[in-house]
């Protein structure tokens, strides 16, 4: 990777700076994995303690909506990968376009998610607010709580990702982001986006497909 720009303070050369950035990003993503890991541990324990009821609760969720959303995220990841590829080649337009479409797929995911929540709320699956609870047992309610927290936290991460991609897309197109010199910026953002995708890849079977 060629870098003509002078390197920032603590670094001796561009290679070193780039490696540091990559390593830092991977480590940060590691901490994100540990964050969601706690939730997955909770899910595991629930399943261990109440296998039958967890399966019951899981069956109540909308498998197909979840599947569609998974597909949406996977596709968005593809777009991000393509965007990064363009960035490496210094194609500003391409970078911006792919990032923008990825971000909009992220928005689609959120829209579908909100629609799904509203369905579940109408069906009386979601605890609290309004509609009467149709959940038969306390454990199933606890499972729905976990579902809410996990998907909610994931949605929050996705929202941050969307904003990140949009900002970078704009900066790339407008040329305020030097490409390919500062390709590290879209690369790092892309890593974050892919991780959010990976987390969903695990959330989907654990929450929707417990049988």
């Amino acid at each position: 990777m060629v870098e003509t720009r002078p390197v920032a303070e603590p670094y001796r050369d561009a290679r070193q700076q780039r490696d540091a950035a990559m390593l830092g990003m991977y480590v940060f993503l590691g901490s994100e994995i540990m964050l969601f890991g706690g939730l997955f541990a909770v899910a595991a324990v629930m399943r261990l303690l109440h296998p039958a009821e967890v399966v019951e609760a899981s069956k109540a969720l909308h498998v197909w909506i979840g599947a569609i959303n998974t597909a949406v995220l996977l596709t968005s990841s593809l777009f991000v990968a393509l965007a990064v590829d363009c960035a490496k080649r210094g194609r500003r337009r391409g970078t911006g376009a792919w990032l923008f479409s990825a971000a909009s797929l992220g928005a689609v995911f959120l829209a579908i998610k909100v629609y799904e929540y509203s369905l579940e709320h109408a069906e009386g699956l979601l605890p609290g607010l309004g509609a009467p609870l149709k959940i038969s047992t306390p454990v199933q309610r606890a499972f729905m709580d976990l579902y809410l927290v996990a998907t909610g936290l994931h949605a929050l991460h996705l929202l941050i990702g969307i904003l990140l991609l949009l900002v970078i897309a704009i900066r790339a197109v407008s040329g305020r982001l030097l490409l390919p010199e500062r390709v590290i910026v879209p690369v790092a953002a892309g890593l974050y986006w892919h991780l959010v995708d990976v987390i969903w890849v695990f959330l989907y079977p654990v929450l929707y497909l417990a049988r």
């Binding site: 109440h50 296998p51 039958a52 009821e53 038969s136 047992t137 306390p138 454990v139």
Partner: protein
């Protein structure tokens, strides 16, 4: 409970004695492990003070075998003690079958004790000597911990399940019992006295304390009063599993698993009925979560335990 200064706790059971022995032995070990370090540091600090004339020829800055030995040898010593203490610990998990059972309910900020014949007491526990006593403990609210220093024993009391503590007290007297797990505002006053009596005194004490009927009988009253008998009774038309002679027997569950019907199982079946559904029966039992207090549940459990084959039909 003597004057303002005491240095070693009273001890009221053989088990407590074994713990003290272990602690003394282990203290000897750790002194043996640490004393050399202190001595050596002080010696060197004096002998090799900067500017002091001393033989400093050929100092070493590594010696793998030395290092390996002083990391491995203490470890083996420790393993010996590990086995010893784990053996002592394991005993706490195997209460004798014939133990005298006393129910304990903890709540902010008091202890309730229920003797089998129905005598209840608060913040005071009477037990006889020479007979194993098994405490079955439940919590109404937060986590508490029953701590009896004289027995060197402690067990957390966790909401949502039963925990067990058993002992064989042998020294009559009055000792302290306390809550060891922080449980809120009045945690530090959630304690009382633990009274060990000779069997004769204990029997006399049971006589004096007034009761209408035994724990199981009270449970039976609840069993009918709360409508359990409506389904589990002999005359019922609803298909509900029979409870006679259930306790301690294996139960086949929906989905193939089997489970031994212990206190915890009966408790869960009353409060979380869907958790383990007996095979072949519809999962129609409602939860009694907000209907029964922990004491009620313990009484019903005692009742169901008391049911021999055919008890319900007469």
């Amino acid at each position: 409970m003597s004057g303002p200064l005491s240095l070693w706790p009273e001890q009221a059971s053989g088990y407590g004695g074994e713990i003290d022995l272990f602690v003394i032995a282990f203290t000897v070990l750790i002194v043996a492990l640490s004393a050399p370090v202190f001595v050596v540091i002080v010696l060197f600090a004096a002998k090799y003070r900067r500017g002091r004339p001393a033989d400093r020829e050929h100092p070493q800055d590594r010696n793998v075998w030395l290092e390996v030995s002083w990391s491995i040898i203490p470890f083996f010593a420790l393993i010996g003690f590990f086995v010893w203490s784990t053996d002592l610990f394991a005993r706490l998990y195997h209460p004798p079958k014939d133990a005298l059972e006393i129910d304990v309910v903890a709540r902010q900020w008091m202890w309730k004790f229920q003797h089998p014949e129905g005598q209840g007491e608060i913040n005071e526990l009477h037990v006889p000597t020479g007979e194993p006593v098994k405490l079955v403990m439940a919590s109404q609210d937060v986590i508490h911990s029953l701590y009896i220093p004289a027995l060197r024993l402690k067990q957390d009391v966790v909401p949502g399940r039963y925990t067990v503590l058993w002992f064989n007290a042998d020294k009559p007297g009055t000792y302290r019992l306390a809550c060891a797990e922080f449980c809120g505002t009045d945690h530090s006053v959630m304690g009382g006295s633990f009274v060990i009596q000779t069997p004769a005194e204990y029997a006399r004490w049971l006589q004096q304390s007034t009761v209408d009927c035994s724990l199981a009988a009270q449970g039976g009253a609840l069993f009918r009063g709360r409508g359990c008998s409506g389904c589990h009774g002999p005359a019922s038309t609803v298909k509900a599993p029979p409870l006679e002679g259930l306790f301690g027997k294996p139960v086949a569950l929906e989905g193939g698993a089997t489970i031994i019907a212990d206190e915890q199982y009966i408790r869960d079946s009353i409060l979380l009925p869907q958790k383990q559904v007996a095979a072949g029966y519809p999962a129609i039992m409602p939860t009694f979560e907000n209907v029964l207090s922990e004491e009620d549940v313990l009484k019903i459990v005692a009742y169901i335990k008391s049911l021999g084959p055919g008890d319900l039909t007469q």
